[in-house]
């Protein structure tokens, strides 16, 4: 039983990171019907940016304030990068065939990934232990401070995002733009600004996800974006791409699923099982768990 609860904790920790990153995929897809393949690399880049902020800007201070500042600065910087990415790689292609934007996204992914390598080098870089190594024992289940932080902060951010999207005027504009861009324009909504906003939110959430990866696993490599990006992307698809609560659900489920599979079944086959689950769900429910039917832009 204690193994079960431990795996539950493991799954929720990794799942909340997947969910944070998945939100970036799902929001962009919701409004633009575009798989932003560069998002995973943005996440990787945030971890490196965060490390540099720590060493260069914060002077390696590891106080609580410094950690918060790292998060804010990194999220802000990555939000800017996200906006630039959209302007350069996606906006010119908004009326082009869909696949052109996909290739552009793949190109952007290469640029960011290799950009990281050029700036920070090909070697694994290592995060300092910024979060104190503190543990709680519940019976045999061990939960660390950082796990709790990741889970709590992710949940708070996701709830905040959900409320923002569901309850505010701008949130309604975001939803309107994802349903019908022309009708949104008729309401006086500047869809370009909404798209920029989507990239700001998605990139900063991704940045926080990236920093969590850095803080939790501590080793970061320039090419890790593909791995996390792919998993988060699957989470978004699982939940129903374009659907914000779906991305959260998908992330959590994927985290739990991979933890239980590698824990109970086989760690060597975890990826294969994860993808078989995905394929199965898509065959049975082609639009994901919470997905609505979104018309494909052709």
């Amino acid at each position: 039983m204690e193994t079960f609860f431990q795996q539950l904790a493991n799954g929720l920790t990794i799942g909340s990171m997947f969910a944070l990153v998945a939100l970036g995929y799902t929001m962009v897809y919701g409004v633009m019907r575009l798989i932003n393949f560069a998002h995973g690399d943005m996440v990787a880049a945030s971890a490196f940016v965060g490390l540099t902020v720590y060493t260069q800007v914060m002077g390696q201070a590891s106080s609580l304030f410094a950690v918060i500042a790292i998060f804010m600065l990194t999220a802000g910087l990555m939000a800017c990068v996200g906006v630039v990415l959209e302007r350069v790689a996606y906006r010119p292609l908004r009326t082009a065939p869909r696949l052109s934007a996909v290739v552009s996204a793949l190109g952007a992914s290469l640029v960011i990934q290799n950009g990281i390598m050029l700036i920070w080098g090909p070697r694994m870089r290592i995060f300092p232990e910024l979060v104190p190594q503190h543990y709680w024992h519940f019976g045999g289940v061990v939960i660390s401070l950082i796990q709790v932080l990741i889970l709590v902060i992710s949940l708070v951010l996701m709830v905040a995002l959900y409320l923002f999207i569901e309850k505010t005027r701008i949130g309604a504009a975001v939803r309107a733009s994802s349903i019908d861009q022309d009708a949104a324009r008729l309401m006086g909504i500047n869809v370009n600004n909404i798209i920029a906003l989507i990239f700001i939110i998605g990139s900063s959430l991704g940045a926080i996800g990236g920093l969590f990866i850095g803080l939790y696993y501590r080793g970061i490599t320039f090419n890790m974006g593909w791995q996390y990006g792919l998993y988060a992307f699957i989470a978004a698809i699982l939940g129903g791409i374009g659907n914000i609560p779906g991305a959260m659900l998908g992330g959590m489920l994927l985290g739990l699923f991979s933890a239980f599979i590698s824990g109970y079944v086989s760690s060597t086959w975890a990826d294969a099982f994860t993808f078989m689950l995905l394929i199965f769900i898509l065959i049975v429910r082609p639009t994901g768990l919470l997905g609505e039917r979104v018309a494909e832009k052709v």
Partner: protein, 318 residues
């Protein structure tokens, strides 16, 4: 446009026919791989370009062909020649079985599922399923191809072997465009509903495209295994599928387009190997720029492949 493409194809073939004698051995290796990748990219073009299905798992079929040849040769002692038909048929069957339940999925979902297949495939290889795939190291020491008692072990010989396979693929591609099934693929890509309403069983043709693409990729895989006398899982990772996917779209879905795509996406990075750290950075920008400037690729597909007797001069005053 049409004349231009025929002339350029002929020039291309001529250059390719004498190329190995102009190259040093390292570039011969690159040239062989160019040929092999061209075949895979053309097979991807059948699925993605012609039939319009977002397939991001073509490296799986490529790998399947390579592994079939490697396994049958190294574990069961088959001559390479005998493994080739199996290297074609096995991916075809797998392609059909996998495609049947998924071809109805919408573009992006299909893309994800094919990525999934590719990743499962690589995991199967790494986990050494059945003890024959050699795990993460793959299989080394595959025999060279023997043809009529000659051993084709030099790079030049393998080059002509790969070139023959490319010519065969080109012949299939050209013939496909001039046949009912090839047109059916175009129709269903342009407008599946209209295609269905004019009597085309779109599901059947989608599966056909997958099967044919898988078979050609499998053949290319077999050549690839012989060229390197080694196969290993990382050559068939889904990143490789992304490469083939991008090749077709950057080049454009036409024969010259795909070949240009392979050149741009594979040979150019080899040429700029010296700038190894910068090349993919610049490359990513080039991909974005290409799409912005030429959203349909460098050399997009042209239609109008119709018999000459149908083309009439405009009538006066008509």
């Amino acid at each position: 446009m049409k004349k231009l493409s025929i002339v350029s194809l002929l020039v291309f073939l001529l250059v390719m026919a004498i190329l190995p004698h102009l190259l040093d051995p390292r570039w011969q290796t690159v040239a062989v791989t160019f040929l092999v990748f061209s075949v895979v990219a053309l097979s991807q073009d059948i699925v993605l370009g012609k039939a319009g299905m977002f397939n991001m798992g073509q490296a799986m079929f490529f790998g399947m062909g390579a592994y079939v040849t490697a396994i049958l040769n190294s574990h069961f002692g088959w001559p390479i020649m005998a493994t080739i038909p199996v290297a074609i048929i096995a991916p075809v069957l797998v392609g059909i079985v996998l495609a049947a339940p998924i071809v109805h999925l919408r573009g992006d979902y299909l893309l994800v599922v094919t990525i999934g297949f590719n990743i499962v495939f690589v995991q199967v290889l790494i986990n050494n399923l059945g003890g024959v795939t050699g795990g993460p190291n793959g299989i080394f020491g595959i025999d060279p191809l023997r043809l009529f008692g000659f051993e084709l072990s030099s790079q030049v010989a393998i080059y002509y072997y790969a070139f023959a396979v490319l010519l065969l693929t080109l012949a299939i591609m050209i013939n496909l465009d001039k046949s009912k099934v090839g047109r059916a693929l175009h129709y269903l890509r342009e407008d599946p509903l209209a295609a269905e309403s004019i009597g085309i069983n779109t599901r059947l043709y989608k599966i056909f495209a997958f099967g044919l693409g898988a078979g050609i990729a499998g053949l290319a895989g077999s050549v690839f295994a012989t060229q390197y006398s080694a196969v290993s899982p990382e050559a068939f990772e889904f990143i490789q599928s992304v490469l083939f996917f991008s090749i077709v779209l950057v080049g454009g879905s036409s024969i010259p387009g795909v070949l240009i795509g392979v050149f741009v996406m594979f040979v150019l990075p080899e040429i700029f190997r010296e700038f190894s750290t910068w090349r993919f950075f610049v490359f990513g920008f080039a991909m974005i720029l290409t799409m912005i400037l030429r959203p349909r690729g460098i050399w997009p597909a042209t239609f109008g492949k119709i018999p000459k007797f149908l083309i009439k001069e405009p009538k006066n005053g008509g």
